[in-house]
Amino acid sequence: MTNEYKELTLQGLWKNNPAIVQLLGLCPLLAVSGTVVNALGLGIATTLVLLGSNITVSLVRNIVPNEIRIPIFVMVIASFVTVIELLMHAFTFGLYQVLGIFIPLIVTNCAIIGRAEAYASKHSVKFAAYDGLMMGTGFTLILVLLGATREILGLGTLFSGAELLLGNWASDLTIVVYQTDANFLLAILPPGAFLGLGFIIAAKNIIDQVIKDRTQVKDKKVVQRARVTGTDI
């Protein structure tokens, strides 16, 4: 794995994660992360759109006039979203009904147009594709993490409704973590998504801070710098 791929992986999954660093695409993130399956479904759909749009944008990057690039990117994205929507309509109809308006709304997910504009339109196809894959994976991971937290807190289960995504055999996948008569409805309701995302971002910042502190301590030990002028800034 070359350095560029390594950097792209790190950027997509952690340093520049669309959901918890760029804070893009929060509308679907907050709306459909009620269960793991919903989150996974939307995450995969977004990843596929991101992959397709990044590849296409990268392919046409040299022939698109700079002045009208944004409408063209939007049309490319919209086409891929339509494809995904029709595919979901055909093969995972249950999930298609659950996710509803949030599938077409992938078009407006700023993470996708953001990657098209910031990365895919300036880099070759293989890098653009890998970037799309990593950004999409990063988005999906956060969605699934949030979905799992909310589902455990609110319903006490994991993977409920897996048959919507994977077919009838998957209905056995549902794990009952605990059983209760009084579900913690707040976790399932929208405020739960905001609180959950806040905690995930806070955890990420804490981890970053700890890493930073450690590396700084190391640096202090290693770097012995003698100041020779008073003016270097």
């Binding site: 009084a182 913690f184 409805l185 707040l186 976790a187 309701l189 405020p191 609180l195």
Partner: protein, 370 residues
Amino acid sequence: MTKLQVASSPHHHNQRDTGAVMRLVVYAAIPGIAVQTYMFGYGVLVQLALAVVTAVVTEVVILEIRKKNTERAVKDYSALLCGLLLAISIPPLAPWWIIVIGTFFSIAIVKQLYGGLGFNLFNPAMAGYVMLLISFPVQMTAWLPPVSLTIQNVGIWDTIHTIFTGYTATGFSIAQLQATVDGATMATPLDHIKTALSEGYIISEGLNNKIFNASMGVGWAPVSFAYLIGGLVLIKAKVINWHIPASMIIAAMAVSAVLSIYDMSTHASPWFHLVNGSLIVGAFFIATDPVSASTTNRGRIVFGALIGFWIIVIRTWGGYPDAIAFAVVLMNLAVPLIDYYTKPGTYGHQNKVRNMAKPSPAKKSQQGDK
């Protein structure tokens, strides 16, 4: 420990610190709590104990994690007061984990995550109450009728047993305790009227029930009046200003008066709205929270009036029977805006010259000298 205290102006000497103010509020709530215990049983006291313990423990733990001065924060009694307000708001026989989760949420998330006392945007007790109400609607609306109307005599042991196991020592569930002699479940006054209206009855028919005594809810109105006494003491002691309670109650009365003049049969009278539910507790003890309420006197009038307005609107058209918590939390959001437009003129300048600078980020934690 004697230490020179250097404070910023005004150098007005005031004997009251935050702790003294909070303690006075707690003392003022005692008559209300006593009457509430008399009317609704020992559950009130058990919930109070659970809430206070949870609140103080949560506060200490979070402050330790945040590496703050634990002792000072606990001695300001704000966590205790928050637990108290939450405990008197929930049904006396609610399961123990309701009050524990609610108090933890109030202190840890609504108060400490926003930066602790003086920095919280929302009234912690009411935000905790809203969280509980939308998360656990069944447990949060299971109010027992006042003691004088129940058929099962719930003693102190039964109360503790019910709070921790869901059943009394003799095996009655809360639903059975709610039932009266004729088997009908008794709801709170506001709940009862709401249900009656939805079933097509008019107000006067709804009031014709043994839970009402001349449109005052049996057990509920005395509790309100006891809190009113405590609230008036607070105003007399200059712990709270009259602006918020007065404007809140007047606005609620005015809105309900307009509605009931418009249609007597489907809108309850102002008097009904005043004595039933928690309007008075809310006006004197909850909306006056020094941190999350407006800080200017004109702002307090606007703040209180809009809370009063929302209470009647939500009681009339909302999905939940009472609305103090929703109204207070909603108006907490509007406080920065209200403060911005009601900023008093600088002394010596004409009032209409509004300084267009950003509102000063003055800390609101010291409220002893309002």
